[in-house]
């Protein structure tokens, strides 16, 4: 297991170098943060026995397919917001929120939904690990992106 504290250090170190890179996508960002593919990160954390393996990955791939669309959307939205920052009008702010809020809700619902599916087809501990790692990675990405907005704003 990769030590959590190390994670945090890596993330804060990387946030300094992230500015202006909103054009890269979420999966690339994750890879640059952790040095491995998302699927590999997940498989390191979640402990599955042989009988759970197939069922879990089937559900996970299904989940990931849906999540990727939200991820792309979030990047697009934030890139446009970062590009416009400095000249944000109240109407732009309002438009941004009208897209950002439903996106966040949809992403969270997706995790909740697959948490339940995984729980019923594997076991509660596997499902909890899924919930934790997915929220952890989502929080990291959200923090990174907001960090980027603030850094851009201050420039």
């Amino acid at each position: 297991m990769i030590k959590p504290l190390l994670f945090l250090l890596i993330i804060f170190t990387f946030s300094i170098g992230m500015t202006g890179q909103a054009s890269q996508d979420e999966l690339q960002l994750m890879q640059s943060l952790y040095g491995m593919e998302k699927r590999d990160i997940v498989s390191e954390f979640i402990e599955l026995n042989d009988s759970q393996e197939q069922e879990f990955w089937l559900l996970y791939d299904e989940y990931e397919e849906k999540r990727k669309d939200f991820g792309k959307e979030r990047f697009r939205l934030l890139s446009s917001y970062v590009d416009d920052y400095g000249e944000v009008k109240p109407q732009d702010a309002d438009n941004f929120m009208k897209q950002a809020i439903p996106l966040r809700i949809k992403s969270d619902k997706l995790v909740d939904n697959y948490y339940k599916k995984i729980k019923s087809r594997t076991d509660p501990i596997v499902a909890m690990q899924f919930y934790q790692i997915e929220n952890y990675l989502a929080d990291v990405i959200r923090m990174e992106l907001l960090e980027e907005i603030y850094t851009t704003k201050k420039q």
Binding site: M1, P4, L5, F7, L8, F12, F45, E47, V88, P90, Q91, A93, D94, F96, M97, A100, I101, R104, I105, D108, D112, Y115, K119, D123, P124, I125, A127, M128, Q129, Y131, Q132, I133, N135, Y136, D139, V140, R142, M143, L146, E147, I149, Y150, T151
Partner: protein, 156 residues
């Protein structure tokens, strides 16, 4: 943003050390410390120029009071499970999630509710800044809490 990074780092250290004695008192102390530090962060990141600052702070105070209650519940939950000896059972995982998931939703709903109210009382721009900074802080806290749970990795 450096301040927030520091605050989260402090919280991380706190999380590691608090699971000893007097945890409840420590949680309260942390909440108070965090609350006043947090106000300074908000002042720094929410631009109240040209809007009714009084109505912002009135709403913010209301919001913060409710957020602290959720924060308290989260820390108590975390404390309950990190202090358990040995590996988590399936039943414990189910019980923990039955409390953790609604807490997460409640916090998100609270931010959303006050984003709307602040938007009406001030401006759309202020409400975006409120939404972003509050989520930034709450994501940071969740992140440091999840770091400390160790992903219940030791079930082997």
């Amino acid at each position: 943003m450096k301040k927030i990074t520091l605050l989260i780092a402090a919280l991380l250290v706190f999380n590691i050390s608090y699971s000893q004695d007097d945890a409840t008192e420590e949680i309260q102390m942390m909440q108070e410390l965090f609350g006043s530090e947090k106000k300074a962060i908000i002042e720094e990141n929410v631009d109240l120029t040209g809007v009714n600052a009084d109505s912002f702070w009135k709403l913010y105070g209301e919001y913060e009071k409710q957020r602290q209650e959720i924060g308290q519940a989260k820390l108590e939950l975390l404390q309950k499970y990190t202090m358990k000896q040995g590996a988590l059972t399936n039943q414990q995982a189910t019980d923990l999630m039955a409390e953790a998931v609604p807490l997460r939703s409640a916090e998100d709903k609270l931010i959303l509710n006050y984003t709307k109210r602040i938007g009406k009382a001030t401006s759309a721009l202020v409400s975006v800044q409120f939404y972003q900074i509050e989520h930034y802080i709450s994501d940071g806290i969740r992140f440091s809490i999840l770091n400390n749970i160790d992903f219940i990795q030791d079930k082997k």
